[in-house]
């Protein structure tokens, strides 16, 4: 009995101390001042984290927009309100789907790769040897990746939204025959740049920080064995997805809760 209670206490302490380590880790690495060298490292990470995730984000955005238009049309047409299709597609994409789905894809595509990469560096003691020769691994390895994720997820979200709205246009207007003018004008009447587009951007900035933070920290903090790497990679995807979905509810409640 006592042993169970002790295990419970140890688990709690472990969780709390790993949260503390994660906080310190973020604090130490995010304020590394950019140097010329750091800029090149950041560019390389932008390419890996951002540009290479472009394809999956664009394709998923296109299909989600198309499905949204198809589903929305079948529901709206039964109310005789199929002209509101553009409004529905644009609002649901800009407010919710683009930030959330792009962040989930990003966690799967880039987050897991970041964890595995840093984890292998730790397992092969590259991080320790860097410290030995006086290079700060937080500055050299972690900071560029953290900033690359923070910058590239909002860009990916914008691309997702644009492609999704275009996909909705393809299905709604070109295929199902919603009048083109009402697709755009209903959208423009109802979408507010500050209230909808910028709030979506704020969401994706938060998600970008959280997802990359989790990914990089899991890689940095793992047990340096092959099993540890596989566990940490799984944890990255699971924790990041849960964090994104949970935070999305909180942010939505803060941003749109009072609209009723």
């Amino acid at each position: 009995m006592m042993r169970h209670i002790a295990t419970l206490g140890r688990a709690t302490l472990d969780i709390v101390s790993s949260i503390g380590r994660a906080g310190l880790f973020l604090f130490q690495s995010i304020f590394c001042l950019p140097s010329r060298e750091g800029f090149h490292l950041w560019i390389r990470q932008m390419h890996f984290v951002g540009v290479m995730s472009g394809a999956i984000v664009l394709v998923s955005g296109l299909f989600i927009g198309m499905v949204l238009a198809l589903q929305g049309f079948t529901i709206l047409v039964s109310f005789g309100a199929d002209e509101a299709l553009g409004q529905m597609v644009a609002l649901s994409l800009v407010r919710e789907l683009a930030p959330v789905v792009a962040a989930l894809l990003f966690a799967g595509r880039a987050g897991s790769a970041l964890t595995a990469e840093i984890g292998l560096m730790k397992a092969t003691e590259q991080l320790t040897s860097m410290e030995m020769i006086g290079v700060d691994p937080l500055r050299r390895i972690v900071a560029p990746r953290l900033w690359a994720g923070f910058v590239s997820l909002p860009i990916l979200t914008v691309m997702f939204g644009v492609v999704g709205i275009w996909g909705g246009y393809l299905v709604g207007v070109d295929w199902l025959g919603v009048y083109q003018g009402s697709y755009w004008s209903n959208m423009q009447d109802s979408v507010d740049f500050v209230g909808d587009v910028l709030n979506g951007m704020i969401k994706s900035l938060v998600f970008g920080l959280v997802v990359t933070w989790i990914a990089v920290f899991q890689g940095y903090d793992l047990i340096p064995t092959s099993e540890g790497i596989s566990r940490a990679t799984t944890r990255t995807v699971v924790y990041a997805s849960l964090a994104v979905l949970g935070l999305d509810f909180v942010l939505t409640a803060l941003m749109f809760g009072d609209l009723g």
Partner: protein, 153 residues
């Protein structure tokens, strides 16, 4: 070194695509206008009840969009809603000053908007003028209430 240049080009194009996308979201999706300020003119109208009218709602004449609602506030003098709208300057001085403004609904569940109807007076509306003849939004509860009280008589 050659490879690094390609990398930077790729990242540059990626960030440019993001900025262009944001511009698209701003202009095309949320309808932010960057038009020259003097290609519109402003009219106001007071309504007893605006129903669900919101800023950015369209202003139409014969169903054709000619402007948008820019501001809605409560008039502290009469306690009715003061709606400010911006219309294309092509119609500045073309609408007679007994034109009427009504709040209409697009379809059964659609968005509410303002429909203007021209009158026959010789004097014209100019920038800053007020439309006096207005028709408030149809509020379903009031209609039902009227209907029920008429039934009771």
């Amino acid at each position: 070194m050659k490879r690094n240049n390609w990398l930077e080009l790729g990242v540059g194009m990626f960030m440019l695509a993001g900025i262009l996308g944001l511009v698209f979201l701003g202009l095309r999706v949320s309808g932010l206008g960057v038009g020259v300020p003097n290609d519109t003119f402003t009219l106001t109208a007071n309504f007893a009840n605006i129903g669900g009218l919101r800023p950015q709602a369209k202003v139409t004449m014969s169903g054709v969009r000619i402007g948008k609602v820019t501001d809605i506030e409560l008039d502290p003098k009469w306690f009715d809603a003061k709606v400010t709208m911006q219309l294309d300057s092509a119609y500045d001085g073309k609408l007679s000053n007994d034109s009427t403004a009504a709040i209409l609904t697009a379809g059964l569940l659609g968005e509410q908007y303002i429909g203007l109807t021209v009158g026959g007076a010789p004097d014209m509306l100019h920038d800053g003028d007020v439309i006096h003849d207005t028709q408030q939004a149809l509020v379903l509860e009031e209609l039902i209430q009227q209907f029920v009280s008429n039934m009771a008589k």
